[in-house]
């Protein structure tokens, strides 16, 4: 009754994001920092799709990222597909991995997280295995310099970030999202209300996987020379989790805000003293869990502000 059109908030956020990252390279020339910031914003948002809306924390989220990065690079290496198609297929590869890992949902929260972490380590150890050197390059990394295109990959990553954000807005505002929220609170009651929790959860999981896979593909394109460690390091999961938690999971702007602020902070100061950041992030997690489990966004929701 008192509501403006439901699409207005999401559209404003998307337009703002696009505008900011379209203009930013003119103001600040280390595009690699901007690119990485977008990567982490997309990852935090992608992780939010699962964790924020279902409560399942994908500790091995980096596994999808690495899968996307390698699938894209291998397609570029062994086929003549256009890179952008390879990036899309990188997202698809992550979805396939997500489907294979679907049975993990038989496990309750923390065991799901640990098993997911184990799964990501398996993917990493397979991709980085000496025995697969002829295919993946093994521990020696992979090179796709011949398609190196900083601007195109930058735009692609921006598109992925926008897609992730649009998905989060959909989850937040739609009937589908209502079902997810209900499931998050009480899966049995949600089922009794008629919510197909298995299907809803799987869709959220695959959407989350797809975002990480796409981001991995675009990241690989931007780096163009990388070692398996660079796209499979647990630090990527850690950053995505901390950023999303800090901003506030279950919202649309929370993960964006968290990732932008903390990564800017990291890029500004942290690169020269990373261990301070590990300490700070650790402390931040402890404080958030104890005092602000719903992140920055909850400072607003507590005041009854309707945060998107």
């Amino acid at each position: 009754m008192r509501k403006p059109p439901a699409w207005r908030g999401p559209v404003l956020v998307l337009v703002a994001l696009a505008a900011i990252f379209a203009v930013a390279p003119r103001l600040y020339s280390n595009e690699s920092v901007l690119f990485t910031m977008m990567t982490f914003m997309a990852l935090a948002q992608g992780l939010n799709l699962l964790y924020g809306f279902t409560g399942y924390l994908p500790f091995g989220y980096v596994g999808f990222f690495g899968t996307g990065a390698y699938a894209t690079s291998l397609l570029v290496t062994f086929t003549s597909l256009p890179v952008i198609a390879a990036v899309l297929l990188g997202g698809l590869a992550a979805v396939v991995v997500g489907l294979i890992l679907g049975p993990l949902f038989r496990l309750s929260g923390p065991y799901f997280s640990i098993a997911n972490l184990a799964a990501s380590q398996i993917i990493y150890n397979v991709v980085a295995n000496e025995a697969l050197k002829p295919i993946t390059g093994g521990p020696y990394g992979i090179k796709i310099e011949h398609v190196y295109a900083p601007t195109a990959s930058y735009v692609t990553m921006l598109a992925i970030l926008l897609a992730a954000t649009a998905l989060a807005a959909y989850f937040r505002r739609s009937r589908f999202g209502l079902g997810l929220r209900a499931m998050h609170q009480d899966p049995i009651s949600a089922s009794l209300a008629g919510v197909d929790i298995v299907r809803e959860r799987l869709i959220a999981w695959l959407a989350s996987a797809a975002i990480a896979g796409l981001a991995g593909g675009a990241y690989a394109w931007n780096l163009s020379v990388f070692y398996p460690e660079a796209v499979f390091t647990l630090q990527i999961s850690v950053f995505a989790i901390v950023f999303a938690l800090f901003g506030g999971v279950g919202t649309v702007i929370g993960p964006l805000l968290g990732a932008a602020l903390l990564y800017a902070f990291y890029a500004g100061i942290g690169v020269s003293a990373p261990q301070y950041f590990e300490l700070l992030y650790g402390l931040l997690i402890v404080l958030l869990v104890l005092f602000l489990p719903n992140g920055l966004a909850s400072l607003l929701t507590r005041r009854k502000v309707d945060v998107l």
Partner: protein, 235 residues
């Protein structure tokens, strides 16, 4: 009344680990009928409800709803067929508002439009519609459970110990509500310890003891049955 009952259980059994908690349970229920389930703790009352609602699927036997086998179906399918329930310990969406709790069920059950405001009024929650569910009292949360179930337009409603902790006036209100639902054609299975309360809503009860049906008939007759007496004293 048609020849096919709304709900029929045929030799339904349930085990947990090595222990059988429900033996060869068979009974049926017609639309608009209220069936009371009584028995000591651990006799299988809640298990029966869990089996019918799909929360814990049966290991043996058949559960037929409108002639269709439903054992083994996921909970949401059973709910969409028109079976719903409340819980002894209420399980509402604690972080959502009261109205949203009901909206979820009205949205997903796909059983026709539900009048959310009417359901809220019926269950005495109208004045709390915008409160967060977790902030309600336990009794209010039980009513919210019921409201959530009603929003799916059920044909069979399973009510688990809704009377515990209520004062006589509140019990009277619930009894009226349940009878009103039955009058609309909704079949009810009511699990209850409070026999007075049960007596007010139905005269057909099944007495369970150690997972077996000991008696089926009126409450008054049940109290004279030696098996029933033994079970209650033994339990």
């Amino acid at each position: 009344m048609s020849s096919e009952p709304l709900l029929r259980l045929e030799n339904v059994g349930k085990r947990f680990g090595g222990m059988t908690v429900l033996h060869e349970q068979s009974f049926s229920l017609a639309p608009g009928e209220i069936l009371g389930l009584v028995g000591p703790n651990g006799s299988g009352k809640t298990t029966t409800i869990n089996v019918i609602s799909g929360v814990h699927p049966a290991d043996e036997g058949r559960v037929l709803f409108e002639g269709r086998e439903i054992q083994g179906l996921p909970i949401f399918r059973i709910a969409r067929l028109g079976i719903n329930r409340s819980f002894q310990v209420p399980k509402c969406f604690r972080g959502m508002r009261v109205r949203e709790n009901v909206e979820v069920a009205a949205t997903f059950a796909r059983r026709g439009a539900a009048d959310i405001e009417a359901i809220l009024a019926e269950t005495g929650l109208a004045s709390h519609a915008d409160d967060i569910a977790g902030s309600l009292t336990v009794n209010q949360q039980k009513m919210l459970d019921l409201a959530r179930a009603l929003a799916t337009n059920p044909r069979l409603l399973l009510v688990d110990e809704i009377g515990a902790g209520l004062n006589p006036a509140e019990l009277g209100g619930i009894a009226t509500l349940l009878k009103g639902l039955a009058a609309r054609g909704i079949a009810l299975i009511v699990v209850e310890h409070l026999l007075d309360f049960l007596n007010r809503v139905t005269d057909r009860v099944i007495v369970l003891g150690a997972g077996r049906m000991l008696f089926e008939g009126s409450l008054a007759a049940a109290s004279k049955d030696p098996d029933v007496v033994a079970a209650f004293i033994g339990g």
